[in-house]
């Protein structure tokens, strides 16, 4: 029976006993599999959490539509407001734009 478990020395002077190599292999395999299982669990958790959050948000929005962020209404400007802005010099128009505006509103004198 050969009880010598030490590997023969190599050129680099490192001899790795068989029992150490086998323990190292076992530890490395276990760590690799555990890390992989952790990754799968994390992925599952993330997906579940995302799905639950999406369903919850859907239910809440359905039950209470007022909390939907309101879209800001488009700013409406009356002709008078626009005209006074123009008169006060808040708006600068080119001659062409001015003529076009006057034409549009039937203004014959400025």
């Amino acid at each position: 029976m050969n009880l010598n478990t030490a590997a023969p020395k190599r050129r680099d002077g490192i001899y790795v006993p068989a029992n150490f190599a086998s323990e190292l292999a076992e530890r490395a395999t276990r760590a690799a599999v555990a890390a992989s299982q952790r990754r799968v669990r994390m992925r599952r958790l993330t997906w579940t959490a995302t799905a639950v959050a999406a369903v919850f948000a859907g239910v809440v929005l359905n039950l209470n539509p007022q909390i939907v962020p309101a879209v800001a209404p488009a700013t409406e400007l009356t002709v008078d407001e626009a005209w006074s802005a123009l008169e006060q010099g808040d708006v600068t128009l080119t001659d062409d734009e001015l003529l076009e505006l006057a034409e549009l509103h039937g203004i014959t004198t400025l």
């Binding site: 590997a7 020395k9 190599r10 050129r11 680099d12 002077g13 490192i14 001899y15 790795v16 006993p17 068989a18 150490f20 190599a21 086998s22 190292l24 292999a25 530890r27 490395a28 395999t29 760590a31 690799a32 599999v33 890390a35 992989s36 990754r39």
Partner: protein, 171 residues
Amino acid sequence: MQPEALRDFTELVQQHADQWYRVALRIVLDHGSAQDCVQDASIKMWSNWSSFRGDAQRSTWAYRFVVNEALSAKRRSRPLATTDPAELAAVPDSPYFEADAVLNALYAAVAQLPEQQRLVFQFRYFDELPYADIAQILGTSQGGLKANYHHAVAKIKKTMVGLNLDLHSES
């Protein structure tokens, strides 16, 4: 992951763990760090198992993870000014390392080499790997490896010549 894949992976680790430890130890020079490198490399191997394209042998593919892990560990742990006697001597600090004066001198000479030359020399001289495998592991051309090995041997010979030591050389 398929059970066959796990079986193949387990088999690969069992067959090569001692060699991976040896490779990692020669790079990081520390018993504990070398074991960590083997473990971390195994984790990465397994998580990338399905991405293996088959353009090299599995064992060669696996070596790359170990070498990369060991090089990263070495860079991370490199102190500004080391006081560790093992690191100063550039020999592995491990219960499984034994060296005479010649081997100690060889390690010291190898430590003086640039990283690429050091790795090529270690794979070629210590592990007696074919250039084709080393090229796959290090991702370089065989021509470049041969040139690196040639330079490494020349430098080591020059370093050791004063000690009247001899190395098996190969061109």
